[in-house]
Each structure stands twice: as structure tokens, then as C-alpha cells.
């Protein structure tokens, strides 16, 4: 007999499907841009951050888009002369770009933070670190939020 199912219940073959459907974005990461550029520009005061020093650790493919473990670490001696003051984490595919801002001081010892983030669809996660001398460094990592696991 014919049955229709809630999308959440059936054949999602993985995480994040409901979210993709809700956004009405067919075909994965070919998504519309959100406010990511504005948020970064506001954080850097319009400066373009340099690639490097920042390390983003996220899985290549998320097991569950609703709670993706993320670690961001920045190379720095963390002394009063040279330290990381703030780290911005944003995404380019969620409805809103902002994820978190972490604040550090020389007393932090290391500039590293980890948390879990929600990803609506496959997208890039971008971290921007602000140093005490006013320079900015950045790293990007693409994470796939897949629907079609058939591996085997």
C-alpha cells in the first residue's frame, strides 16, 4: 500500500537532509551566499586576512550536520608581546554566517578552542584570527553534509 513518509523519517541516508530540504537548495554546496563577507569585513575592519597560522580541524564529511565537532587553533607564543586576541568562526552556507567569536589573552597559554557547530548543508567553515598587532590570519575547511551514503 502506498505510504507517504515524513522526510525526516525515511531515506535520508545520513545527516542534514531535513535541513537541506528546508532551505530549498538542490544539489548540495552550490548554495547562495549568506552574509559571510560582511561579517568577516566587520571583524577585520576591511583588511584582507592572510592565509596561515590558523588550523581548523573538522571532519571532511560530517556524521551529523546538527553537531559537527570543530577545533580551531592559532600558532602564537601567547606572550604579552605577541598573542591572539580574538578568533572569529563563520560559515558560508548556513542561513547566517556567524558561528562564534573566541576571546584570548596571554593568560590563555594557547589559542585553541573546540566546540560543536551546526551545518545546514555542505559548505566552507572559515576561521579568522586577530593578533594583538592588528594583523589577521585565516584558514578554510570544506565540510560535506552528505545524504547519500551507500559505501560498502
Amino acid at each position: 500500500m502506498k505510504r507517504s513518509f515524513d522526510r525526516r523519517q525515511v531515506l535520508t541516508w545520513g545527516a542534514g537532509v531535513a535541513a537541506i530540504a528546508a532551505l530549498g537548495i538542490p544539489g548540495g554546496p552550490a548554495h547562495a551566499k549568506n552574509d559571510v563577507e560582511e561579517v568577516i569585513a566587520k571583524f577585520t575592519g576591511g583588511k584582507t586576512p592572510t592565509t596561515g597560522k590558523v588550523k581548523l580541524d573538522l571532519p571532511e564529511i560530517a556524521e551529523n550536520g546538527n553537531t559537527v565537532p570543530m577545533t580551531v587553533a592559532v600558532e602564537s607564543p601567547m606572550t604579552t608581546e605577541s598573542y591572539v586576541s580574538d578568533v572569529l568562526v563563520v560559515t558560508d552556507g548556513n542561513p547566517r554566517a556567524g558561528v562564534a567569536v573566541f576571546h584570548f589573552s596571554p593568560a590563555s597559554g594557547v589559542a585553541e578552542a573546540n566546540t560543536r557547530i551546526r551545518l545546514a548543508t555542505s559548505q566552507n567553515i572559515i576561521a579568522v584570527a586577530k593578533m594583538n598587532d592588528g594583523s589577521f590570519f585565516t584558514a578554510t575547511k570544506a565540510v560535506k553534509v552528505t545524504i547519500g551514503g551507500c559505501g560498502g
Partner: protein
């Protein structure tokens, strides 16, 4: 079992109907156990590797793929060559035993000459022979996908495989399909295993602490060997996460680097990664993580007759279903690999005798089910096989069964790479169907889905297969479709690989906004309802009596 004399007679008789010029090659075949096992021993360590048995205890037919596309840096490289190209690459004579074991070329004809491969009792004979020759230098490692995907492994929840493997006395294993038994059962089996289950890349979801032992060290032939386990990184995505809710996987390169360093600092002379990553993932990993001497690869079922070298790392690919046992002899001095010799030993079941102890155990396990499993439910007119990037003739039969038994417009069947092959004219037994479908989440769902959603799913699976970065690939093959056709350009990015999606029943294009009745199986979602897929497929074959599937695919493939 055929005697050698019988075998040679069959081989000679077969020569008459294989393509011209090969008959002599056939006549010249003089396969013996001694020749299959012949190996000029070298060095102080012998690694034996088996992987991807998928619950198979007995010898079987398994046709290798005719199409196995590589993308990105892997394009055109082994294991992404097949058929005649593969034979030429390795200078293997068409029609030879190696050609039969390693390629899809003339499979049906050669199968009649060379018979079945594998069987854990034959593997036991090989392992014992190598141990007898090499004594305390031998390390036997199981790359995983061992405990599931046959009838007996399904109903005993992996106990049959654990009991039989125990007789082989492996030193360590890692896993993938093992986890589809659920976390509790996995823990229960590991507790009584008697050897190590290693997985450096599994953490508990709560505290991100290691959930399994990462590595184990062994002293063999005066060499300290560190074996690091790497389970299939995408298990909770490709298989049901709800069965292992507290375990998180992933490639975890940084943790691996730390474990390699720990192994070296701990005095290891030789570092081996027992991996279920899949070949392309391991090839990339070898180029990025230094200090690993050998990666024993698995998951993607590639059988390579030579080691592949990436930097200083040797990659070994040992095939699947017990068709092969890999032997790698290593000369380890000054904590370095000074030399090696490798052989992918094909387990020709008509040549290699069964080990009595293992054969008795396999028979005892199968005895209560033997009559049911051996029951013929129909016949195939054409060669049925699984492997291929986009379709397999056995999958076509499964899709036909789903469409007719579940009265749907479109059928989806997972691109699993396991399952045995059937020759034209062969009777189909219940066991043949279980061999292609035995999983712990077999419900056949039936639902409506829009054309846009269908395309989205196909695009997503295609990217899991053809993403140019191996770290974003999950292995397996493209989801099989029944009731529709499409064109795929593998070089395009996600969302734009598929075009010309057509519905077979109407002959019209798939409409994005229309709802279609879709049926399929192996949904990773908890609570999926429907009859088990093997019942659906068996019912269909019993009704039809005779089935056939054209080797011509409905899928058009484009690649530069």
C-alpha cells in the same frame, strides 16, 4: 572438489570454446599448489593479509569490475584500470589463471575452466604452509568487513566468522561492516576475540576519547612491529549511525601522525597501518603522513598483483571474498625496509586442498542451513555480477524485483561491492540472494519522492564516489537505479554531474516537481519499514523462474 586431473581435463575441454589463439595457453596451464604458493622468501618478517571476506566461508565465483573510474590524481592509475587494460598493464596473458582471478575479461568462459576461488579452509591451508615455512616471522592481519553479509553471519550475528577466524589465529583486525551488528554486539565479540581489534580513528561522541585500542606491537623474527588499526572512516554515514550512536569515526590524520610517532618512539622497527580507508584514501594518506612502512588497504576490494609505492610507503591491496591471500616479505634492518617481495596468492579452490579442521568447522556452522541455502529458486540466462561503477547485472535483477514486487516507478539499490557472481544457465539458490543482500537493516521502503529530490540523492552519492579529493569519497559504487536512466559526467562538480534523467515506464524526462513512487533498501534511517529485501527478490525470482539482465547499461558515462 575436482581433482587436479579433472581440472586439467575441464581446462582442456573449455579451450575449444574460448576465443581463438588462447587454446594453447589453456593447454599449457599446469597449476599446482606448489606453484601458487611458490615464493622466494626474503628478509626477517612475513606479513599475511586478508580483507573484505564479507562473511564468505566457502569458495565462490566473483567477477572483478569492467569499469572502475578514477578521478582527480587517481585517474588512470591502479586500481582504476580494468579488463584488458589491466591485463596489459601487469603483462598478464589473457585466458591465464591470473587473468581470470584479477579481471572481468571472459569471466563466464574462464570460470568454467578455473572454478571457484576462496574458502576459509583453503586460506587456512595457505596460512599454515607459510607459517610452517617462516616460523616466528609471520604476522597475519585481517583488514575487516569480515563478520557480515552472508546468511550464516547474519543469523549468528557474526559468530560464525569469529569462530572460523579464531582457527586462523590472526594477530589483529580492524572493521567496517562489523559495526552494523550494533555497538553492544561488537563489544561482546571483541571481548572474546583472542586477538586485537584495532581502530585509532574511533572516538566516543561524548568526551572525544579513544573508543578502541589504536595499536599493538608484535615481535616477529627479531623485529618490533607496530600495527595501527584504521576502521572505515565513514561508517556512521554510509551505514546506520543509530546502531553505533556513541562512536564517532573520521580519517583523523593528526591522531594517526601522533600514533606513528608514538610507535617509533616506542621502539618500533616497522610500522604497519591495517586500514579500511579504501585505496585512494590510503594513497593520499601515504603522501601526507610519514613514517608508515606498509599500508594494508581494504574496503574498495581492489586486487593488485604488485605493491604500490608512495614515497617510502608500500600499499598492498588484497582483493575480497577470500579470493586472495597477500604475502609480503620484508627485510627490516636499522629500523628501515631494505627490501621486500610480494605475492597476491590466488586461492584457486580446485588446486589448494582444504584444511580439515577449518572445513569441519565451516560444515558444522552451515549444516542446519545447508538444505535451505542450497534450494534452487530459479535460473539465470545471463551472467550476474555486482561490480561496476554504475550498475551490475545482479543489481538489475534486484531493481526489477523491487519494481514489480513493490509496484513502484523507480527503484534504488545500494552500490555495495560485495556479493557473489552467477554464470549463464546457472541455477539461483537462496544463498546467492543472501550473499548479495544479507544486512542488518534490510527493510524495503516505499515512498513518494519528487524528481528534484531523486536527482539530489543521485548527485550526492555520485559526489561520494567521484569527488576529486579522495578524503571526500566513501568508497562503494553509484546507487543502482531501476525504472530510469541518466547521463553522468564524472568530471563535473556536485549538483551538475547528472543530466538526461528519463523515466523508463513513460519514456519521458524526470519532472523535478512531480512525485514518484520510489522503492529501495538499506536505508540508514532508524524505523524504516518494509519487508526484508531478500524476501522481495526471492519472490520475484520464484515467480519468473528464469531471469536475465542485459550487460548494456542504461547509464551513459562521460569522462574526459
Amino acid at each position: 572438489m575436482l581433482s587436479r586431473r579433472d581440472f586439467l581435463q575441464v581446462a582442456a575441454a573449455t579451450a575449444a570454446f574460448v576465443p581463438g589463439g588462447w587454446s594453447q595457453a589453456f593447454a599449457q596451464q599446469r597449476l599446482t599448489q606448489a606453484e601458487l604458493l611458490r615464493f622466494e622468501a626474503t628478509g626477517n618478517v612475513t606479513l599475511l593479509h586478508i580483507a573484505d571476506l564479507h562473511g564468505q566461508l566457502r569458495p565462490l565465483l566473483f567477477r572483478e569490475p569492467a569499469i572502475n573510474i578514477g578521478v582527480g590524481d587517481a585517474k588512470g592509475l591502479v586500481p582504476h584500470i580494468s579488463g584488458r587494460v589491466l591485463l596489459d598493464h601487469y603483462r598478464i596473458a589473457p585466458g591465464s589463471p591470473s587473468a581470470y582471478a584479477l579481471s572481468s575479461e571472459d569471466f563466464a568462459a574462464l570460470a568454467k575452466s578455473y572454478g571457484r576461488l576462496g574458502g576459509l579452509d583453503r586460506i587456512a591451508t595457505i596460512v599454515k604452509a607459510v607459517r610452517a615455512e617462516r616460523g616466528d616471522r609471520v604476522l597475519l592481519l585481517d583488514g575487516g568487513d569480515t563478520w557480515q553479509n552472508s546468511y550464516t553471519s547474519l543469523i549468528t550475528k557474526g559468530q560464525d566468522m569469529v569462530d572460523c577466524l579464531a582457527l586462523l589465529k590472526p594477530d589483529a583486525m580492524t572493521g567496517h561492516w562489523e559495526f552494523t551488528l550494533g555497538a553492544e554486539r561488537v563489544k561482546e565479540l571483541i571481548e572474546k576475540l583472542g586477538f586485537k581489534f584495532l581502530a585509532q580513528n574511533i572516538r566516543d561522541t561524548e568526551w572525544n576519547e579513544p573508543a578502541f585500542e589504536a595499536m599493538s606491537t608484535f615481535d616477529r623474527g627479531g623485529v618490533r612491529i607496530a600495527v595501527i588499526g584504521q576502521a572505515f572512516p565513514y561508517t556512521p554515514i554510509a551505514n546506520p549511525r543509530w546502531m553505533i550512536p556513541n562512536w564517532s569515526f573520521g580519517i583523523r590524520e593528526d591522531e594517526l601522525r601522533a600514533n606513528v610517532t608514538k610507535a617509533r618512539n616506542g621502539g618500533a622497527d616497522l610500522v604497519v597501518l591495517l586500514s579500511h580507508n579504501g585505496f585512494d584514501v590510503d594513497r593520499k594518506l601515504a603522501s601526507r603522513v610519514s613514517g608508515i612502512d606498509v599500508i594494508l588497504t581494504a574496503h574498495t576490494h581492489d586486487a593488485l598483483p604488485e605493491a604500490v609505492k608512495v614515497g617510502k610507503t608500500l600499499l598492498i591491496a588484497s582483493g575480497c571474498h577470500g579470493k586472495f591471500v597477500s604475502r609480503l616479505d620484508l627485510d627490516i634492518r636499522d629500523r628501515q625496509v631494505k627490501g621486500y617481495r610480494f605475492k597476491l596468492i590466488p586461492v584457486f579452490s580446485d588446486i589448494i586442498p582444504a584444511d580439515a579442521e577449518m572445513a569441519a568447522t565451516v560444515s558444522r556452522i552451515r549444516a542446519p542451513h545447508e538444505a535451505m541455502l542450497g534450494e534452487t529458486i530459479g535460473k539465470t540466462e545471463s551472467l550476474l555480477y555486482r561490480r561496476g561503477n554504475f550498475n551490475g547485472t545482479l543489481d538489475d535483477i534486484i531493481c526489477d524485483a523491487l519494481l514489480s514486487e513493490r509496484d513502484a516507478e523507480i527503484a534504488l539499490s545500494p552500490g555495495f561491492r560485495w556479493g557473489t557472481s552467477l554464470l549463464p544457465g546457472q541455477g539461483i539458490t537462496r544463498e546467492d540472494i543472501y550473499n548479495a543482500t544479507a544486512i542488518t537493516y534490510p527493510a524495503t521502503y516505499r515512498m513518494t519522492m519528487s524528481g528534484a529530490r531523486l536527482k539530489e540523492i543521485l548527485e550526492d552519492v555520485a559526489d561520494n564516489l567521484f569527488n576529486p579529493d579522495p578524503y571526500y569519497q566513501q568508497g562503494g559504487d553509484m546507487v543502482r537505479v531501476g525504472g530510469m536512466s541518466y547521463t553522468i559526467d564524472v568530471d563535473k562538480p556536485i549538483g551538475s554531474r547528472l543530466s538526461d534523467l528519463m523515466v523508463t515506464r513513460t519514456g519521458k524526462p524526470l519532472e523535478p516537481a512531480r512525485d514518484y513512487l520510489v522503492t529501495g533498501w538499506a536505508s540508514v534511517n532508524e524505523g524504516t519499514e518494509g519487508p526484508p529485501v531478500w524476501d522481495v527478490v526471492m519472490r520475484h525470482i520464484e515467480k519468473k523462474r528464469v531471469v536475465t539482465a542485459s550487460p548494456t547499461s542504461r547509464i551513459r558515462v562521460l569522462q574526459k
